[in-house]
Amino acid sequence: MVSSIEIQSILEKHPGARRDSLIPILQEVQEKDGYLSREAIVRIGAHLGLPASKIFGVATFYNQFRFQPQGRFHIQVCRGTACHVKGSARVLDAIEQALEVASGQTTRDGMFSLEVVACMGACGLAPVINVNGDFFAGVAPDEVKKILDTYRRKAADEAQTN
């Protein structure tokens, strides 16, 4: 989590800021931290003179903002038109069921986080998912478990060598 000092340094870049600076500030905080923590939201509110309810309301309106830290492996599922036609909804379902999280959430062990994106510009690979920069093309729902297990093993191997 971003420390209070870091939030402070972001806020200090916007002296005397008003509500029109809200989104740039939210973006900067998320850029630094990968998500918007409660502490960050409350402190941004105090800085701008806005209630936390309002900031939460604005932030939840935009898909770009997350409210949980990213997992060790961040999964992006493409729900663009081509992927949709090729059955990405079922792929998303399979991931959500396997991880027991919804889009925007992170698994309790912090291993995986899930995000739905509109298009990755890789329509030829549809339906496509992206895990920490690794692209998986033509994913079928029943392949999801295997993909996730690869990363679980990777994490376990790393834990052993450390």
Binding site: V42, G45, A46, P51, A52, S53, K54, G57, T60
Partner: protein, 573 residues
């Protein structure tokens, strides 16, 4: 004045006003769901759409300014069809449980479905599933019944200056909730219930304690005592079709007895008691250089507001408990002793115009030895529901009077029900305490009326005192900011959370317009005008309570039972 043509008839309109207000004045009914009189139109619900000649699309009349010669059709086939479709779409994501809903028979969505002849579910599909938020002591939120009109959000932010709730998410997943979508109990909600007053459906309602009261009434070992707040007697009648502003005090007392309450007391008695303590405290603060301006402490929404938003003003708040809590305390002490009752076997119920009173009664400092001073709070609406449940007709009951020792009141105590009333009552008694003489002209006109910010300079003997009476906490916010910035001319400030005071409280009958609130206020002024004992210090029962039990105002015993203190409150702001 300009002229516009509506449905073939010419009507007058003021230049610059919105079409809807001209239509209303002319008695033409156009339905609305999101419109709040006096606030900037949000145009969210589109129920008020009408056809305007020359406009390609239907226009929302709440947000469309009038123009000379404009031709309007309010109920053309096209406009009515659009409204009906809107209602059908709202119903597509609305539970079908009207029979079980607290607003059954009193719901704007239900009324519109009826008026527009909706007879079938035309749009079916998946509905949103939401959890009921029962975390608060005062207010229950049911997002499944919410139609997203946004009135609660606007009242909370624009009138109350609280902003505990806002729209969350977007599209079909839009809902209304607190910061981080958590329970009201940990939010900055002050429990005022003004959101309930504007909610068109059952999405917001009071946390009901009728069941607890019924259980106590059914227990033969428990003495159940009621107290009713000053404003309830001038509003309860509306629930039974009696004209606004009718004082039903006597029949309400009779109804409470018929419901099984063992004793019926009048909170206006303890309002008199509050004045004795509060006027003494004011005099003490003025004489000893205490913290000024002193601010009233009767309104629990306001108290929580200060605790969480303006903790630096906690020292300005009068240490007096509210009349409800003073009554609660003397019932379980003086009254219990007098009647030889075990305070544990007394169930104390208060009938309040207010939802925040439920929260107040639940505060830990409002109990002694683990026994709460007030066990359950019912709103005016809940009392009406309870009366109907027992098949009582308040129009045929014989009026009755409240019980000793806490049934006798002065009209000053009664004035507590409206904005400015606590101030007026306090000035009458402070004048007597500071000068030894009664105030010559008892009516303090400067603090009367529904205006939400009233200020005056009042002469009490040699002393000139700066006073202010505010209602609607957005106004309090502005004044507190002025005082923070250095304003120093005020000595005593009355704050009531709800605009207009308790007569327009969050527990009062729904659907009252400004003229009804004005009638309720006038009813209190009429009582004050017509009765002989008009200052709290002249209440014989209050005098006796001091003589037999409390000693004098601000005595050790008074401090123990009638005063309290407040502390900064951590909430999600």
């Amino acid at each position: 004045m300009i002229k516009i043509e509506v449905n073939g008839k010419s009507i007058e309109a003021q230049p610059g006003e919105m079409l809807l207000s001209a239509l209303k004045r002319a008695g033409i009914k156009v339905p609305t769901l999101c419109y709040i009189e006096g606030l900037f139109p949000s145009g969210a619900c589109r129920m008020c759409v009408v056809e305007v000649e020359g406009q390609r699309n239907l226009v929302p009349s709440c947000a469309f300014p009038v123009a000379e010669g404009m031709k309007v059709k309010t109920h053309s086939a096209r406009a009515v069809r659009a409204r009906k479709t809107i209602v059908e779409l709202l119903l597509a994501d609305h539970p079908d449980d009207c029979l079980y809903c607290v607003r059954n028979g009193n719901c704007q969505l239900q009324e519109l479905a009826e008026e527009l002849g909706v007879r079938q579910r035309r749009y079916t599909g998946e509905k949103n599933v939401y959890k009921l938020d029962t975390s608060g002591l005062s207010i229950v939120r049911d997002p499944a019944k919410c139609i997203l009109c946004g009135k609660c959000v606007r009242v909370c932010e624009e009138i109350m200056g609280v902003a505990a709730i806002d729209f969350i998410g977007r599209g079909s997943e839009t809902r209304i909730g607190t910061a981080f979508d958590q329970g009201l109990n940990i939010s900055s909600c002050i429990n005022c219930g003004q959101c309930i007053m504007v909610c068109p459906t059952g999405a917001l309602r009071e946390q009901s304690y009728i069941k607890e009261v019924v259980n106590a009434l059914n227990d033969p070992e428990v003495t159940v005592v009621a107290q009713h707040a000053p404003s309830v007697s001038v509003t309860l009648g509306e629930e039974f079709g009696i004209a606004p502003g009718t004082d039903v005090d006597g029949v309400m007392t009779a109804a409470l007895r018929a419901l099984g309450f063992d004793r019926v007391f009048d909170t206006a008695f303890s309002a008199d008691l509050t004045i004795m303590e509060e006027a003494s405290e004011l005099a003490h603060r003025i004489n000893t250089g205490g913290t000024l301006p002193m601010m009233t402490s009767c309104s629990p929404g306001w108290i929580k507001f200060v605790e969480q938003f303006y903790p630096d003003f906690i020292g300005n708040i009068s240490s007096c408990r509210s009349p409800q809590q003073m009554m609660g305390a003397v019932i379980k002490s003086y009254y219990a002793e007098r009647e030889g009752l075990d305070p544990k076997k007394i169930f104390s119920v208060s009938i309040m115009p207010c939802t925040a009173k439920k929260f107040e009664a639940g505060r830990t400092e409002m109990s002694r030895d683990g026994i709460p001073d007030v066990d359950a709070v019912l709103t005016t609406r809940e009392l009406a529901r309870f009366i109907r449940m027992r098949g009582l007709d308040i129009r045929t009951l014989d009026p009755d009077t409240a019980d000793t020792p806490f049934g006798e009141r002065t009209t000053a105590g009664k004035l507590f029900g409206a904005t400015g009333g606590v101030m007026e009552a306090a000035i009458r008694t402070a004048h007597y305490l500071l000068t030894g003489k009664e105030l010559e002209h008892l009516e303090v006109e400067a603090v009367r009326g529904l205006k939400e910010v009233k200020e005056a300079r009042v002469k009490i003997g040699e002393l000139e005192v700066g006073v202010a009476a505010l209602s609607g906490l957005g106004n309090a916010r502005r004044l507190l900011d002025e005082i923070r910035a250095g304003r120093k001319d005020l000595h005593f400030i009355e704050v009531m959370t709800c605009p207009g005071g308790c007569i327009a409280g969050g527990g009062q009958p729904l659907g009252a317009d400004l003229s009804a609130v004005r009638a309720r206020m006038q009813a209190l002024y009429t009582i004050d005008h017509d009765e002989p004992v008009r200052a709290s210090h002249n209440n014989p029962s209050v005098q006796r309570l001091y003589k037999e039990f409390l000693g004098e105002p601000l005595s050790h015993k008074s401090h123990e039972l009638l005063h309290t203190n407040y502390a900064e409150r951590e909430v999600v702001r």
